[in-house]
C-alpha cells in the first residue's frame, strides 16, 4: 500500500518534469513568432511573453502580487485558491446530495426514471456561461427565512449543476447493480424497500459512486472557476486568472501563478475524494484477487 503510494508519487513528479521538459524543448526549437499550418495560425509563439521559462514562473511565485510589495504572490494566490476550494466543496456536497437523491428517486420509481433521466441528460447541454448570469441574479431577489441569498451561493449552485450529473448517473447504475439473488434474499427476509436500500443497494452501489465522485470533484472546481469568471465575483482563483491575464503584457509569468493555484486546489479536492475512496473501499475485494 505505502509502496504503491510512493511509486505513484514518483510517477507523478516524473510526469510533471516531462511536461516542463516538453515546454522548454518547444520553447527552444519552436518559431519565436509562431507560424501557420494549412493557412491557419496554429503553431504557438515561443516568445518569453507567450511562453515564459519554467524557472521564471517559479521565481515569480516568490515575488509580491504587485511590484509595490507585500506578501509573495503564492500566499496571495493561495488565499484565492482557498476561497475557491471552499466554494467547490460546498458545490460538490450540494451536487452529490442532489445526484444521489435523484438516483434514489429514479431507482425507486420507474416513472421517475423515464421522466427525469432525459431532462438530467439534457441539462448538461446547457452552457454554464449562459446559465451563470441568471443564477447570480438570484442574490438580492431571494431570501429564505430572512437569509439573504449571497452571490457565492449562486456560484455553488452553478458548480453543483455540473457536479450532480455524474453522481446521479453513476449512483443510479450502482443502485441497480445489486445482484438478483441478493435482492431475492432481502425479499425472503421481508425487508422493506428502504431497508433494502440501506443494507444492500447503497453498499452495492459504492464501487459505482466512488468514480463518479472523482468526476464530480473535478467538475465542481471547473464550475466554480467558470462561474467566478463569468460573473466577476471577487476573492476566488477565477477572478485572479482573469485579472492576471489582463496584466500579462507587462508581467507574463503572473497568470501562471494563478493557473498553478487552480491546479493545486483541483488536486486538493481530488485528493479528498481519493481519501473517501480508500475509506469506503478498504474492506472490499482487492482488484488483484478478483
Amino acid at each position: 500500500m505505502i509502496r504503491r503510494a510512493a511509486r505513484r508519487t514518483i510517477l507523478f513528479c516524473l510526469a510533471l518534469l516531462l511536461v516542463a521538459g516538453a515546454w522548454e524543448l518547444y520553447k527552444l526549437v519552436g518559431p519565436e513568432g509562431g507560424g501557420s499550418l494549412f493557412g491557419t495560425r496554429m503553431i504557438p509563439k515561443t516568445s518569453d511573453r507567450a511562453m515564459p521559462h519554467i524557472w521564471d514562473m517559479v521565481q515569480r511565485l516568490g515575488e509580491p502580487e504587485n511590484r509595490g510589495g507585500g506578501d509573495p504572490i503564492w500566499v496571495t494566490v493561495g488565499g484565492y485558491a482557498w476561497y475557491t476550494f471552499r466554494l467547490s466543496l460546498v458545490g460538490l456536497v450540494l451536487g452529490v446530495a442532489v445526484g444521489i437523491g435523484l438516483a434514489v428517486l429514479m431507482a425507486r420509481f420507474k416513472f421517475a426514471e423515464r421522466g427525469l433521466l432525459p431532462w438530467i441528460i439534457m441539462s448538461q447541454t446547457v452552457p454554464l456561461i449562459a446559465l451563470a448570469p441568471q443564477v447570480v441574479s438570484w442574490s438580492g431577489r431571494i431570501s429564505i427565512f430572512g437569509w439573504e441569498w449571497p452571490r457565492w451561493a449562486s456560484v455553488c449552485v452553478l458548480a453543483a449543476f455540473l457536479a450532480f450529473f455524474p453522481v446521479a448517473v453513476g449512483t443510479l447504475r450502482g443502485l441497480k447493480s445489486a445482484p438478483a439473488a441478493a435482492l431475492e434474499l432481502m425479499d425472503s427476509y421481508a425487508a422493506s424497500w428502504t431497508k433494502t436500500l440501506f443494507k444492500l443497494r447503497f453498499p452495492a452501489a459504492v464501487p459505482h459512486i466512488v468514480p463518479s465522485l472523482k468526476l464530480a470533484a473535478t467538475l465542481s472546481v471547473v464550475g466554480v472557476v467558470v462561474a467566478e469568471i463569468s460573473t466577476g465575483i471577487r476573492g476566488g482563483i477565477g477572478r485572479a486568472v482573469l485579472s492576471y491575464q489582463q496584466a500579462s503584457t507587462g508581467d507574463p509569468t503572473k497568470v501562471y501563478a494563478a493557473v498553478l493555484g487552480a491546479a493545486a486546489l483541483g488536486l486538493l479536492l481530488f485528493g479528498l475524494v481519493v481519501l473517501i475512496d480508500v475509506l469506503l473501499m478498504r474492506n472490499r475485494p482487492q482488484e488483484v484477487s478478483a
Binding site: E184, D187, N283
Partner: protein, 276 residues
C-alpha cells in the same frame, strides 16, 4: 404415502394444495411451470425435489418461500399462508451462490437477518458466533467473505439461513457449485445441523446420490408442465454417516430414484415420437 401421522394441516411444516403456476399467462412466452401440485411435508422431515431442468422444482421452492405467488391453489407454511410465514421469518433460505455481502464481515453477514428483525447488537453477535461454531468456522468471524473458499462461503450462507433458528430451511442447489469432496462433507454436516435443531428442509438438487443421502423422501418431478410423478421414500434411518454411502440400502434408493427419473425420460421420448 405421505407420513401425515398428525391430523390437521396446522401441524404440518408445509402444505401445498393444488398449486398451479403459470408465468406470463396469455402471452406468446407463456410457461406452465407447475400444474396441480399437491405435497405435504411433516415437521423435521428432509424432502428433496429432483427432476430435469425446467420441471419447476425451483419454482415450487420459491412458492413455499412466497417469493412468487401461485396462479391457483394455496401454500401453507407452519399452518399460515406462505406470505404470512415470510413476514414472520418462519424460514431460512440458501441458494446455489452463497450470495454473501462483500462489504460485510463473515459475522456481520450472519447477523443480517437478525439485524432486519431488530435484534439488539449483543444478542445477535452472540447468536452469530454460536452459528459460526455450528458450521465449524469459529475462527473466521472477522474475515471478509472473499477471503474464504467456496465451501466456506456456502457454510456461512447456511449459518445465515439458520441464524434466527427458523423451523424451515429452503435450499436451492446449495452445494451445486462445490467440488465432490467438499460437497459430501457439507452434506454430512447439514444432516447433523438439521438433526440437532430439528429443522424441516426442502432441498432442490440435480444429484441423485445427494438426494438419496440427505432425504427422508425424494419428490421426483417432470417438466412441461411441472408435476410430481413419484415420491420415493428413502429408508436409511436417521443416523447417516460416511458408511451410509456404501450401504446397500443407499444404492437401492439411488436405483429407485433413477428409475423414477427414467420413467419421465421415456415418457418424454415416447411423446416426441408420437408427435411425429
Amino acid at each position: 404415502m405421505t407420513p401425515n401421522k398428525i391430523l390437521g394441516a396446522s401441524m404440518n411444516a408445509v402444505v401445498i394444495n393444488k398449486v398451479t403456476k403459470v408465468f406470463n399467462p396469455d402471452k406468446p412466452n407463456q410457461v406452465d411451470a407447475l400444474l396441480d401440485v399437491d405435497l405435504t411435508i411433516a415437521p423435521g422431515e428432509f424432502v428433496s425435489l429432483i427432476g430435469p431442468s425446467g420441471c419447476g422444482k425451483s419454482t415450487l421452492l420459491r412458492l413455499i418461500a412466497s417469493l412468487i405467488g401461485p396462479t391457483a391453489g394455496d401454500v401453507l407454511v407452519n399452518g399460515k399462508s406462505a406470505a404470512q410465514a415470510r413476514l414472520d421469518q418462519d424460514y431460512g433460505m440458501a441458494f446455489q451462490q452463497a450470495g454473501l455481502f462483500d462489504w460485510r464481515s463473515v459475522v456481520k453477514n450472519i447477523e443480517l437477518p437478525l439485524e432486519l428483525k431488530g435484534w439488539d447488537k449483543a444478542k445477535r453477535r452472540a447468536r452469530a458466533h454460536e452459528m459460526l461454531a455450528l458450521v465449524k468456522l469459529p475462527e473466521f468471524a472477522g474475515h471478509m467473505p472473499w477471503q474464504l473458499s467456496g465451501g466456506m462461503q456456502q457454510r456461512v450462507a447456511i449459518a445465515r439461513a439458520l441464524a434466527s433458528h427458523p423451523p424451515l430451511l429452503l435450499m436451492d442447489e446449495p452445494f451445486g457449485a462445490l467440488d465432490e469432496m467438499t460437497r459430501e462433507h457439507m452434506q454430512a454436516e447439514l444432516l447433523q445441523i438439521c438433526a440437532a435443531s430439528n429443522t424441516t428442509v426442502v432441498f432442490v438438487t440435480h444429484s441423485i446420490p445427494e438426494a438419496a443421502y440427505l432425504s427422508d423422501r425424494v419428490v421426483v418431478m417432470s417438466p412441461r408442465p411441472g408435476q410430481i410423478t413419484e415420491i420415493v421414500d428413502v429408508d436409511l434411518g436417521s443416523d447417516r454417516d460416511e458408511g451410509t454411502r456404501e450401504a446397500d440400502a443407499f444404492y437401492d434408493s439411488i436405483t429407485a430414484i433413477r428409475e423414477a427419473l427414467r420413467g419421465i425420460e421415456h415418457a418424454e421420448i415416447r411423446g416426441g415420437v408420437d408427435d411425429r
